[in-house]
Amino acid sequence: MRHLMSPLDFTVEELNNLFDLANDIEFNLDKYKNACTGKILATCFYEPSTRTRLSFESAMLQMGGNVIGFSDAGSSSASKGESVADTIRMISCYAHICAMRHHKEGAPMVASGKSSIPVINAGDGGHQHPTQTLTDLLTIRSLKGRLNNFTVGLCGDLKFGRTVHSLIHALERYTGMKFIFISPEELKVPDYITDSLKSKNIPYEEVIRLDDVIPQLDFLYMTRVQKERFFNEEDYVRLKDFYVLDKEKMKNAKADMLVLHPLPRVNEIAVDVDDDPRATYFKQVQYGVYVRMALILTLLKTVRRDEEC
């Protein structure tokens, strides 16, 4: 049985197979409408999420499956002090697969160690968000036709932005990548990411000004400064509008540069960019459903009968 904790849990070949399946779903949706009949997805969301939870639920429902779960810790036994390990043992008896989001980093990994059903990390604190990464990779592959030889700009909250950490880890495995990290000093990418890049001789730069580097980029990954990651309100207020991508800045970008964003967007991308053909963030949402459908199908196939609860 397989789980998904990090994009690196799948080999590049396995990811290619997953994306092929996602593209097949995209163009032949009808073929998959009963692919999960009789199967139940548990969405265990200990912290609020709209997009990811609904995307998982939509994915399962479109394949004829059912969904159970909770959407905040207050409505689960966690509010009574139940451990993650105990919760997943219980969920394993109710569902066939689980998508878990937790505010504590590593919680889905703890769950996977005690679970008899596949567990998908749907975001753990500021750590990893692998299904967003699968969404990002599928979007890039579908729109650019490849996943190598890019100069990638990542901008905003690179310290707590788990989507960024997962994406960098995943892109490290493709050839010809160069990373440009654009962030204020306080929100720089963590050292375990830069250590990893150094050890693999993958070029990267850390800069503060977006304007200086935007002409070089093949795609720009914007992120929101997340209020919930700050212990100090003052720091959040100071940093929240540090970057705003607008029409003026887009004039200096390549004609085919993609603008990606894991959403929700606040002020970091001006609304006037939405009509730009390079704005890709709403297409990502649709690709997110396809890739989660492909992931659910793939992981369900890895369960042996004797592993079921």
Binding site: G106, A107, M109
Partner: protein, 143 residues
Amino acid sequence: MLNVGRIQEGFVLDHIKAGQSLKIYHMLKLDKGESTVAMIMHVPSNKMGKKDILKVECSVSDLNLDVLAFIDHTITVNVIKGEEIFEKKALILPEEITGIINCKNPRCITSIEQGLPHVFVLADKDTQVYRCKYCEEKYNKRY
């Protein structure tokens, strides 16, 4: 005058960085047992200038060499049997250590999950960096 005698069975940990033997004493949990321990600090050394030495009278199976290797894999471990050096053990950095150090990241699941051991894995052999298995927080040895 204090006379530190020979030990029948146990270990002599030599070439400990000066001043670090007390930390090792605690991390090996020697304070929790009843082994006879001699801690000799700031001993002149040709190789190191100054060094510490720990002599521990215990069964040879009692010492957790993984912990010792994690603390400092350059320490010389002399295994003593019958008052003689029976073996010199090489220390190898352990791939994983459990329950020795705690993750300091307040966002890590180890900060709230009951009964969850703190596990660190060797992320980079060359730089001897260990990271929390759950949140990947780096452990700074400050050693």
